[in-house]
Symmetry: C2
Subunit: 503 residues, 2 copies
């Protein structure tokens, strides 16, 4: 049953630096995982799924439903839907499942007294943190703190993590302008902020990048530049957007053009930082290591390092949004680890959510607000998600799942490259990208319609895969995705490309 | 041990309409509750609590900590802290615990397979809702839908619930201006919104009220007008704030003045709605039924009804923020039920969070966005909080906890009024308010310093009580708070007032 391409990938040697990492065996971690997809209905979703979606439609918008899963029956990388179809899930709830469905070790955690009591006694963490809080955080989330960032604000989701980083940036920026943490606010600032007017509500901005996505609350949406349908009709702050490089693929065939494109974008970026100073100074720059919702756009490590250095040069705080890229999928725990930032060049803030299940902001003590209650809300995170993150981090480490994912991604990249050179793929697939970024792989179809058709046929063939940008397919599997799943994925893509040809 | 005032309250007959409601017995629901507070350390927090807070301070801001609780040892209305002090908790995690700590029925829920699997398989609800979603919502949250609002968007917190209502209002407002749901966006709108410019990012506003609190993300913070320290240094939308009536207490001694004050505020409100039309039209008005964080400010039912009608007259959507007032504490499930709105006058949106544990927006189908993905994010709520809400709603109904709370609050109001007339209270306590609003009671101390001193001494005497506004003490107990807790509360206040006198 192995396709030619998948067989070839199996023989590929793994990258040298990964040799020696313990091989992860999915049998221990997700013992009940099906061996392959199984589609029972003519199309997915089938009649039961459609009926379930229709029922939800009586009280909630059902138009964005893809399938209605039966989570209780799902295992590991496989999602079961209302009709009993078994799908290999390489989208993972929009990149939000780290290990798999119904992982026994996590279900065990959920059944502990500790977890049950934490779930049913949700505290106002900012004022009444539980006695175990230090232990939960120090043995959990803090063990994966990005280099140089030893402070942690927990939140409930990625959007609020980014907005928290914005708020801390604005406060720290104004504090610097004011002359330090001990300089008091003026009466004019205190009075005018209550009217949403300057100087108390300052004319400062967050610079983001075209195609960037940072959430959909009012501050984060002002920084989001993915799609018009996300933004139209919603008031927004007059904040600037810099161009993000449009690299050409394959990279090794377009070295000079891509260098020039990155240089052009860096110059434009610096120009905006300078010009904004006289109108609406940039207090913070926010960037994803891979622009994900916007279409899996990559740039070189050097480009990102320059972004960081130029932000520093112009006094803007630097926020790395790792909400989607974080937690191992790119083959390093944090995607920005690859940039090679030196000591003193670290980001000011790194935000996370999704696969971590817990959400929040890592930062430095110098951006802790100068007075209490400046960053505060009722829940300030959720202890059960911190407990879940702790357990997942432990499992990731014990099973070397980050290096496993780096290795899996390299092999899969080779298979994709072989496949995408076949006549089946020609004229349909282009811009394969992400090699070296674990399983964080993507490619474009030649039109949005073809992309949608591809995704639909993949589902009908037993694979839940997701799109992003205008005509991109993005791979966002779990960290337990391995060679056997890769084989099924590659052979199914091969099949679907033939089907598309037959149309 | 009963104080004179508490004894007198016990003899008070309950309000006629509540006679016949089954008496709630806390013994069934929270069997392990202590019978009274017990303070072991000289002050609260004691040395262990202070040390625990200091430890958290190495990675998180500890300056807002009040105590560090041991939730595993806490039961019902009683919170145990790191030092083993047992406090009667009438603040309930900033009004976010509906029934009590470690309620056995809720811990049982947490240990079910259904809950554990829902916790560990968190879905992207907008695209992959679980097969049980309709059942969970129809037998849970939808059973408490405010009259006329049969649509539900779930979110993760109160701030994002309010911002979701804002976004739906803006979209519906522009849709009406555009001429209906089928009129397409113009190219100019689609292009300009990506730059955060008009017309795509429209110059529309949300009108809120001075002293109102609606959250601390960028949109909700723009509508929040509680305290400058919440807002200073954070960019804000240029949205208007209307005055909220400053009523004088006791109400029956200031009938005419209060009527005039409400009239003045309504006129000013309508003036803003009219004047905004030429600059930044008001797409939505947001109001809390009792302005809680801002100092427990009340107004008459007629005032609120007029607010709603005037909003309608000027084409603004009307959002009732029940994040703090909702779920029974005011003696009705929703506080706005008391306003007497007629059919067709219902709010357009009612938001909730806190005691519901689940968060979201009830609304009407006409404000469902006209296209998919206009209101969308990764999680769109959390199924386990919907499950928890369903169980809590069942318990609230089975034990008649809303009418229990109405009754408890009436009796407690009588005790307070007696107590606050004693010589102990004179010159220290004023503006007692909330009678008829369940246990949602408040009073002012004569200065912010005295309020803080009062709250601290209450804690040292075994009661965790909270402040709000500048010099207000607010009562926010759970729905299982009853006569025996009232007695302890009243006698402790009596004692602390004496202590304040002795200073």
């Amino acid at each position: 049953m192995l396709s030619r391409v998948a067989r070839s990938a199996q023989r590929t040697p793994i990258r040298r630096q990964l040799v020696g990492a313990r091989q992860f065996s999915s049998l221990d971690l997700i013992p009940n995982e099906p061996s392959r997809p199984s589609v029972k209905t003519e199309k997915v979703p089938g009649p039961k799924g459609i009926a379930a979606s229709h029922e939800i439609g009586t009280f909630q918008d059902p138009r964005t439903h893809v399938i209605v899963p039966n989570y209780e029956e799902s295992h590991g990388n496989y999602l079961v839907d209302a009709d009993g179809n078994v799908l290999l899930d390489v989208f993972a709830q929009i990149s939000s499942i780290a290990l798999g469905y119904n992982v026994p070790a996590l279900l065990e955690l959920a059944k502990t007294d500790e977890f049950a009591k934490a779930a049913m006694n949700r505290p106002a963490l900012g004022s009444f943190p539980p006695v175990q809080w230090t232990e939960w955080i120090k043995t959990g989330l803090l063990t994966v703190q990005p280099k140089g960032l030893d402070q942690l604000i927990t939140t409930l989701c990625g959007s609020s993590a980014n907005e928290t980083a914005f708020k801390c940036s604005f406060m720290a920026y104004r504090q610097r302008e004011r002359g330090g943490p001990d300089v008091p606010f003026t009466k004019e600032e205190m009075d005018s902020c209550m009217l949403n007017h300057t100087p108390g509500a300052p004319q400062l901005s967050v610079l983001s990048f075209k195609s960037g996505f940072h959430g959909r609350l009012f501050g984060s949406l002002s920084a989001t530049r993915s799609k018009a349908i996300h933004k139209v009709d919603i008031p927004a702050f007059d904040w600037p957007a810099a161009p993000f490089p449009e690299l050409k693929y394959p990279l090794n065939e377009h070295v000079k053009e891509n260098e020039a494109e990155e240089k052009r974008c860096l110059e434009e970026y610096e120009k905006i930082l300078i010009e904004s100073k006289s109108t609406r100074p940039v207090a913070a720059v926010i960037i994803e290591p891979i622009l994900s919702e916007g279409g899996d756009k990559h740039a070189s490590n050097n480009y990102f390092r320059q972004l960081r250095l130029i932000a520093k040069k112009h006094g803007a705080f630097f926020i790395v949004d790792e909400v989607q890229t974080g937690v191992g999928a790119t083959g390093t725990f944090w995607a920005h680890e690859k940039w090679g930032l030196q000591q003193g060049e670290e980001p000011d803030f790194v935000t996370f959510s999704k696969k971590m299940q817990a959400a929040g902001v890592f930062h430095k003590k110098e951006t802790r607000p100068n007075a209490p209650y400046r960053n505060y809300n009722t829940w300030m995170g959720d202890p059960i998600r911190a407990l879940q993150a702790r357990e997942m981090i432990k499992i990731i480490n014990q099973n070397n799942l980050v290096s496993h994912t780096a290795r899996t991604g390299l092999n899969l990249s080779k298979s994709f490259k072989s496949l995408f050179e076949t006549s089946n793929a020609k004229g349909k697939i282009m811009n394969f990208r992400g090699e070296g970024d674990g399983t964080y792989l993507a490619f474009d179809l030649t039109s949005p319609q073809l992309r949608d058709s591809f995704v639909g046929k993949m589902r009908n063939n037993g694979i839940q895969i997701g799109g992003c940008g205008e005509q991109t397919v993005r791979l966002r599997p779990m960290l337990t995705f391995g060679e056997k799943h890769s084989e099924i994925l590659v052979s199914t893509i091969e099949k679907v490309l033939k089907e598309l040809q037959d149309v």
